[in-house]
Amino acid sequence: MKTIPILMPQMGQSVAEGTIIKWRKQVGEEVAADEVLMEVESDKITVEVESPVAGRLNSILKEEGARAKVGEVVAMLETEADIHVDEPAEPPKETRSNRPHAGGDGGQVMVSVMGEDDWNGGGPRLPELTRDWLSPFVLRLAMLNNISLKELQEIRGSGQRGRVTKNDILEYLARRPLGATSIAQATGKATPTPRDVERLGQVVPMTSIRRTIADHMVQSIHTSAHVTMVHMVDMTHIVELRNRIKASFERRYGVKMSYTAVMIYVTARVLKDFPTANASVFGDNLVLRNEVNIGCAVALPDESLVVPVVKNADKHSFPEIAQELERLIKLAREKQLKRGDVEGGTFSISNFGAFGSIIGTPIIYQPQVAILGMGAIVRMPSVVNDHVVMGDRLYLSFSFDHRVIDGAQGGRFLNAIQTRTEALTEKDLGCEKL
């Protein structure tokens, strides 16, 4: 009988931590190998974590609702199984002192004769410290930047014995939020707790998904040079077509004929001619992606957002795309999306028209380089051949990363989308016999 740790699993490349939603087993309960132990929420997906072996749940270290870093121990399991278990990952060390360095020990020959202090040339090494020791420079930085002693004590030091070094304080200053000074000064704390701010209003902690969205949006704005262009597309004939055949389309294919699916269908085909728009930025490299996988932003009832991906949209017919989109939206609403459903996107589409907005400026989903936003389709007068006629119009907002795509290219891309959409036939949409 031995006790093995249960670790927070790795749930995707960029995932650093997860929240334990539910323990399916209680302490003392027996568990079979591959039986589900817990449910973990992370990065927009929920994962069921299975027990690696049969055994008995010995203790739970992270309660429901608690967050844990990937590789962190969340529970202990007693088992008879004879398996080798990797030790839990050590938290990454902040200092670099454990790095090997090429320095030989020139004085070692003499050490036994003379004693190291006589021979190391540098004489006595630097004095031993306590964590509280603050160097003159750190104190000066703290004074100049109004950092309180309490704040200083809460900074995690990377120096010897955890002392706060110059770099620690500079990093702290870099991430100290603007406006935090007053709260920090009032409370003497670096990060205000709910209690510190509750006098300002009702405190609602961000959920894991909300935090992920927040981080992603800010990161994207900081990463890409966002530019948005807008085209007006004549949807009159598509709207007519849809009104005429939507009942039979639903009967034949089992799903509604949605405008989002229409735009996925068109965009996927146009993207084949614009490889730089179907690309990802990794460091200094632009990767023109082989596949065309179109993510589609879906708002969830709890005010959060997921972006499931229609894979290989350029290779699927319109009805297939409509079916896949409806399947993904249904899963998203039920929070049943799997990792594979949200990964691998190369381009995104956001339909914000459902609530009446006609134009938006969508934010790029990193590491992609462009996103297409759809407004509401509105019936309005416009001038055709010097005559004012009524028609259905759709504003398409195209946000792209100006680091990679220039204005002319962006304009050509939108133009191609417009031309192709306006030229769509019943045959293209698989509706000719309906």
Binding site: T95, R96, S97, R99, H101, A102, G103, G104, D105, G106, G107, V109, M110, M114, D118, W119, N120, G121, G122, G123, R125, L126, P127, L129, S135, P136, F137, V138, R140, G159, Q160, R163, T165, K166
Partner: protein, 187 residues
């Protein structure tokens, strides 16, 4: 010794330029040449003489995490150590004092302001060595800029040994400088 200037070049071009300035200087100048550097350091020296002012130090290698204040043969050992450390992610500045008297106080203060950590290296004995003078001026004029105590790496206070192994143990070198810098930067 008041009234005497002391020059200690580390590079052929500096040796040529500084001897020129020394000869023109109205004061007595002691010009020290490191015997070890004679055939060890080679450099193409341009024809034009650059009249280097006595008392001006030179940044041989820029860096941000620590500065090595040194002169003579140790400049080359320090650059060697700094280059190796760069491969491990440490960014070390090396300053060649060039003139020991008068020495370039302003350059020292500027280097400390840029790095906040100081390692003084020289070949001579530790007690009452020139490094003690450099350490003292850092403590006097740049105390508020220090993020770690000033560190010295010198020869130990023993007679210079003759056997090659003992001499190697006696003399500071790139390995020892590297080790000291890691300790200083990690402090």
């Amino acid at each position: 010794m008041p009234g005497v200037k002391v020059v200690y070049p580390a590079f052929p071009s500096d040796a040529r330029n500084l001897i020129y300035t020394s000869v023109l200087d109205p004061n007595p100048v002691i010009f020290l040449e490191n015997k070890y550097l004679y055939r060890h350091v080679k450099e193409l020296v341009p024809n034009e003489i650059d009249a280097v002012r006595l008392g001006s130090a030179r940044i041989v290698r820029p860096g941000q995490e620590a500065v090595v204040l040194t002169y003579g043969a140790m400049v080359h050992e320090a650059v060697h150590a700094a280059t190796r450390l760069a491969g491990q992610g440490y960014d070390v500045m090396v300053v060649d004092m060039r003139t020991l008297k008068p020495y370039d106080e302003d350059a020292i203060i500027a280097a400390v302001a840029a790095t906040n950590r100081v390692l003084v290296v020289h070949e001579g004995w530790r007690t009452c060595g020139f490094g003690a003078e450099l350490s003292a001026v850092v403590a006097e004029r740049a105390f508020h800029l220090l993020d770690a105590p000033v560190m010295r790496l010198t020869a130990p206070d023993v007679p210079v040994p003759y056997a090659p192994e003992l001499e190697a143990a006696f003399r500071p070198n790139a390995d020892k400088i590297e080790k000291a810098l890691v300790e200083l930067i990690e402090y």
